[in-house]
């Protein structure tokens, strides 16, 4: 029904004199000639003017054009689109937490500091690491922070080193973060199992290599079984093992990165710890380290003494700040509420069912979609469009057709080592009924690919808009609304 209404941009329904809120009148004597000599604007040209009814309908209509986890299955690989518990939202909306100015005296925000310190402690137990910062704003920001810690350590030893090794299966943020930290990236090829080749690593690992950045389980969902040997090779040359924790959901409560000789680990609270993605953030990307890197953590560091909590800025070896204030505080509260709700058994069950669900999908679609790597997988599995390519159907077509079935597609075309990839991560919060719905849809689409490939190539058919011309968007960028008349 709602799809029949084409909702214009707010600027196109604006009309002069309207407003959706009434502000109070000035209750102090008005002073004339304030800001004399300062260039002022007569108007905010083009700014919208709508009533509250129009505004509300505008955003309700926009919302109804979105697919979301609360509506259905969202199997984006390496994104961990699990259900976002509502109690977490309620906690984070409490005025005691939303109203506090970040520069209030420490005595007045003891509750906030205590909760952050407690979250730190729980995350250290979950990861087996020894020190942590909650400051980074998201996963990529955590990566950058982690690489800065490594660089600061090497610099303190007299040589920051030149290179960072990254497997070819890694997420694009890894090389980008290493580069932003002043390192040259060297790619490590994956072997026939889809994991890091130990021989290659041995060849590439020198005393000019600062670190190896490894995602484990990797983006194929494969656990790097040689992890301890890999760590030893890196450590033998004085390098650090950085672990991208994007896929921690596969092993939470089952195994801990700290026990695998990992030196630096970033977490995504908006993945493993259930905080909502919000259409692209805010996330939160804490970085956990081994003791040796603790002196370099960003300032301030939260310290506890005699039951009082204190922010310590006096840390001479610190890399400094990576963000204003203390990080994404409200997101931290949601993650803390989640951990407290689940407890140790609940967290382990998260990994167990995430892995069970993924393997159930893998088994159900094996033979129908091509699986490049036979290696056992944990929380996600990566198929490709190789079989469907015979009929001229690509992973893009399969994904768009899934939209017609009312389902969100998997991650497409990633990791780069699988051509035409369809990367599926169901998470633990899906029922068997929803998994079966997806499996049946994928089977039906494979059938359609053979029988009526055109149906896929022209999909989606029943969405608010149909396939969009992304080439035109990039070639002739229209990045804002402008008044035409």
């Amino acid at each position: 029904m709602i799809n029949l209404i084409r909702e214009p941009l707010i600027f196109e329904i604006s009309s002069p004199g309207k407003s959706a809120v009434r502000l109070p009148e000035l209750d102090v004597p008005e002073k004339k000639d304030l800001l004399s000599g300062v260039p002022l604007r007569d108007d905010i040209e083009g700014f919208p003017e709508v009533s509250e009814t129009e505004l509300t309908r505008h955003f309700v209509r926009l919302s109804q054009m979105n697919y979301c986890v609360d509506f259905g299955f969202y199997p984006l690989g390496s994104c961990t689109m699990k259900y976002n518990p509502k109690i977490n939202e309620k906690v984070a909306a409490m005025p005691a937490f939303t109203m506090g100015h970040p520069l209030l005296p420490e005595d007045l925000v003891q509750g906030n500091l205590e909760l952050m310190k407690f979250l730190e402690k729980l995350l250290l137990e979950i990861t087996g690491m020894e020190a942590i910062t909650l400051q980074p704003a998201a996963g990529a920001h955590g990566e950058l922070t982690g690489m800065m810690l490594i660089r600061a350590y090497h610099t303190a030893q007299g040589n920051p080193r030149k290179y960072v090794l990254i497997p070819d299966s890694a997420h694009g943020t890894n090389p980008s973060s290493a580069h932003l930290c002043g390192y040259i990236v060297k790619e490590i090829k994956s072997n026939e199992r889809g994991t890091v080749s130990v021989e290659d690593l041995e060849k590439e690992m020198t005393e000019e290599v600062a670190a190896l950045m490894l995602t484990n389980p990797n983006t194929l969902g494969v656990f790097e079984s040689d992890i301890c040997q890999i760590a030893d090779i890196v450590h033998a040359k004085g390098g650090f093992l950085y672990m991208d924790g994007a896929n921690l959901n596969a092993m939470v409560g089952v195994a801990r990165p700290g026990d695998m000789k990992v030196d630096v680990l970033h977490l995504n609270l908006h993945k493993t710890f259930s905080t909502p993605h919000g259409g692209g953030g805010p996330g939160s990307g804490p970085v956990a380290v081994k003791k040796i890197l603790e002196p370099f953590l960003p300032v301030p560091v939260i310290e506890e003494k005699d039951g009082r909590f204190h922010l310590n800025y006096n840390r001479p070896l610190s890399i400094g700040r990576v963000k204003s204030f203390y990080g994404q505080f409200l997101v931290m509260l949601k993650a803390l509420a989640y951990i407290l709700t689940l407890g140790p058994q609940g967290l382990r069950e998260v990994a167990e069912v995430a892995v069970l669900n993924s393997n159930y999908i893998r088994k159900s679609l094996e033979g129908i979609y091509h699986l490049k790597y036979e290696t056992p997988t944990l929380h996600e599995c990566v198929f490709s469009d190789k079989f469907q390519k015979e009929y001229g159907v690509s992973n893009l077509d399969i994904s768009k057709r899934l939209l017609d079935y009312g389902l969100h597609p998997p991650t497409m075309s990633f990791p780069l080592i699988v051509h035409g990839a369809l990367m599926i991560e169901p998470t633990e919060t899906e029922s068997k009924r929803d998994l079966d719905l997806f499996i049946e849809a994928m089977k039906a689409i494979a059938e359609e690919a053979r029988e009526k490939p055109e149906l896929l190539k022209t999909a989606p058919h029943v969405t608010y808009v149909r396939r969009l011309d992304e080439v035109q968007a990039a070639r002739n960028p229209v990045l804002r609304w402008e008044k035409t008349s």
């Binding site: 502000l23 000035l26 409490m94 909760l115 660089r151 953030g281 700040r321 382990r348 960028p477």
Partner: protein
């Protein structure tokens, strides 16, 4: 567990389908020696009711609600209309991922497109991105963008830029062999133009200033732009209090090349400092060096308008180490709140909001400086923040004011030598006359 909808029966059926006997078997790729032998040492699970009680109790340890505060310095308390919370809390906005499948993400994408448009209108520039983490990282990204555009190693940052922003800029640039030079301020509180001229040479990529700056003083953007441009450098302006743009001329129209900043003031609660909302806008010709996501307009196969994420060849998932930034997840939901906030206020509303802030701050400054020994530290024009100098060390006065239930401002002495007797005071529309008068009365008693 209520978030895991797989029953024991389901489990059995699924294991049979997979062809294993137990879930344990599925983890066989994790070597035995690194598997946990016991449960994690975490608190036992709490019921929903207990979780709520737990956080309520901890919240009580935040003992600030009995104080009247005049704090700003990069985080501002503003009124948030009810529709902002109500509309932004919808599941359809809270629980989707980054809009990788545009056909089922038009709500998020259209909202981002509207956000970009609003930021362009406010800043007077051509292009805006979908958001950055916050004002501090925005300032760092602006500096790096300026460096990519000009490829010169000298970067000038005004010392009256928010100290936290400068710290983040320093953290970001020190590993890249770049030279960050701080420019002094003068008695107006603005950038010292003689100091600037001495540091600005043709090896400079970018000059970054803040306006209103950390002292609340409005910079002369037109002349800063001229000075920078004359040396072939770019002018980047960072704005931590964007409500000011309801009154002040758009920096883009005064010659700024990049405008970045913190948009927490637009509908985001203070939240102990996060999540906040970074924004960035620039001139059209610089768009290929812009960091972060950008939404663009296009058409579908039936010719209907739609929106997509675009120009992604700038970004890490395509360009890897050659990307303009490593940013991936940003602050989309915060940008949505800001969009709703700005569209609620609208053209007249934002102007009026800015005017209320200006007038109330002026009234407060006038009343406070009528007390003996209290004076404005800087002569420059201000918006809703100003620096006052007191007859004694601010920390002593602050303490006595706190005893009277007033948090009267932020100390400046930690960051600026010579300003030990000064405080940065912020007044917004949430301060009615009664509150301002209460502050004046309390200070009068403290100084007596």
């Amino acid at each position: 567990m209520s978030y895991i909808p797989i029953s024991d029966r389901d489990k059995k059926e699924m294991l049979a389908k997979i062809g294993v006997n137990s879930v344990e078997e599925l983890f066989s790729s994790i070597p035995e020696n690194v598997r946990l032998k016991q449960e994690l040492n975490l608190p036992a699970p709490l019921s929903e009711m207990e979780v709520l009680d737990y956080f309520t109790e901890k919240g009580k340890k935040n003992d600030f609600s009995r104080y009247l505060h005049f704090l700003g310095g990069g985080a501002y308390e503003h009124f948030i209309p009810a529709v902002v919370d109500y509309l932004s809390s919808r599941s359809e906005f809270v629980t989707p991922y980054t809009p990788y499948q545009p056909e089922v993400s038009q709500g998020t994408l259209q909202a981002i497109f509207e956000f970009q448009t609003l930021i362009c209108q406010l800043t007077g520039l051509d292009i805006a991105n979908a958001s950055l983490y916050d004002g501090a990282t925005g300032a760092a990204e602006a500096i790096l963008m300026g460096y990519r555009l000009k490829n010169k190693k000298r970067l000038l940052v005004a010392s009256n830029v928010n100290p936290q922003y400068r710290e983040v800029i320093y953290t970001y640039t020190k590993n890249l062999g770049l030279e960050m030079v701080e420019i002094p301020y003068d008695k107006t509180g603005k950038i010292d133009q003689a100091g600037l001229t001495a540091s600005l040479n043709d090896d400079t990529s970018v000059l970054l200033c803040q306006s209103p700056n950390y002292f609340g003083v409005i910079e002369d953007i037109r002349s800063l732009a001229e000075l920078a441009h004359n040396q072939g450098a770019l002018l980047a302006v960072v704005i931590s209090e964007p409500v000011s743009l309801g009154l002040l001329e758009a920096p883009g129209k005064l010659g700024a090349d990049i405008v970045t900043g913190e948009a927490q003031s637009f509908g985001l609660p203070l939240s102990f400092g996060g999540p906040f909302l970074g924004f960035m806008a620039c001139r059209k010709e610089f768009v290929r060096q812009m960091p972060g996501r950008i939404a663009g307009q296009t058409v579908d196969v039936e010719g209907r308008r739609g929106f997509v994420l675009t120009l992604s060849t700038r970004e890490q998932h395509i360009r890897r180490e050659k990307a303009t930034s490593n940013i991936c997840t940003n602050q989309a939901h915060c940008a949505l709140r800001a969009t709703i906030f700005l569209e609620t206020l609208g053209r007249e509303g934002l102007k009026k909001l800015a005017w209320l802030n200006l007038q109330k701050a002026a009234y407060a400054a006038e009343q406070l400086t009528s007390l003996p020994g209290v004076s404005r530290k800087f002569t420059g024009q201000v918006f809703n923040e100003f620096v006052l100098e007191f007859p004694d060390c601010w920390e002593k006065i602050d303490k006595k004011l706190q005893e009277k239930g007033i948090l009267g401002g932020l100390a400046l002495g930690h960051h600026y030598t010579g300003l030990e007797n000064c405080a940065l005071i912020t007044v917004t529309e949430v301060h009615n006359k009664e509150k301002i008068d209460a502050y004046v009365q309390a200070l009068k008693e403290v100084l007596a």
